[in-house]
Symmetry: C2
Subunit: 138 residues, 2 copies
DNA sequence: AAAATTAACTTGCTTTTTGCAAGTTAATTT
DNA sequence: AAATTAACTTGCAAAAAGCAAGTTAATTTT
């Protein structure tokens, strides 16, 4: 696995030591916003993560306490990945990334629309989503 | 240079295509919060970025419109790197990373203290910092 | 005014990470 | 019983990161 070392005690740097890559936050996104919870569901995302990289990221997200592996309620062949509270608390980071991308990068129509809604009541929507995620996670 | 391609039209993915790595946001941080503006100042940061990686990231941050290169006011030997508005608008992302790291990762005492202050009036402090950065940037 | 230093890179090389295709094993479905 | 699905692992090539040393122009020191 990609080794986990802290480059400094700066909070930004420390956060990036864990989630500063192209894939980790997409897995968090898929669980948080796209209702995905299994390896194969993550694999099917449009961004096409490589199988070994996905396995690696899942291991490290679990090791850092962002996700947990659980028994899948419907099948023993599946593993149910879910966010921990630490993982759910990444929501505000994702929200800010969405707002920034929405302002400056070419994104889908639906993302633009969602950005507009978000912008009007960022704090409220974030709070509400966070509460829903935490409630559903119990 | 690291090539820039959009993996999808998802805003989170698109943002990560640009700043989803271990170094880009540290350069933004150094300009935004640590008063650094030159190659050698970036090199001296505690996280110890490699010289070629720094050169690469500066090129790509400029190519994506997050920073600009300007004449240094004091010396022709130096280059003055500054944030664009697009770069300044990454402040909320950095703020959320700080808050998350502050809550879940081992960070410096001063970062913990700053996090507490931030938490009390996130929106207000962000707004004020943003205004100060944009004003200073004119 | 020559020599040393500084600033911003570049180059070459090794190590690490990513990407891709194929293979494995257990559980589930046909 | 055979085929499929789910979650990985393995092997290998390509890309990126890390490290040390070198280059060039500007600036400072002697």
């Amino acid at each position: 696995m990609k080794q986990l070392k802290q480059r400094s005690d700066c909070p930004i740097s420390s956060a990036l030591d864990i989630i500063g890559d192209k894939w980790s936050l997409l897995i968090v996104r898929d669980i948080m916003m796209n209702g995905k919870n299994t390896y194969n569901e993550f694999l099917k995302s449009v961004e096409k993560i490589a199988t070994n990289v996905l396995a690696d990221r899942l291991t490290m997200l679990e090791a850092t306490g962002i996700i947990t592996k659980e028994e899948h309620p419907e099948s023993k062949a599946k593993i149910y990945y879910k966010l921990t509270e630490k993982g759910i608390d990444l929501l505000p980071v994702l929200i800010e990334l969405i707002l920034w991308a929405d302002e400056y990068l070419p994104v889908s129509k639906s993302a633009v629309a969602y950005g507009k809604v978000l912008k009007k009541d960022k704090a409220g929507i974030t709070k509400q989503m966070m509460a829903a995620l935490k409630k559903a996670n119990k």
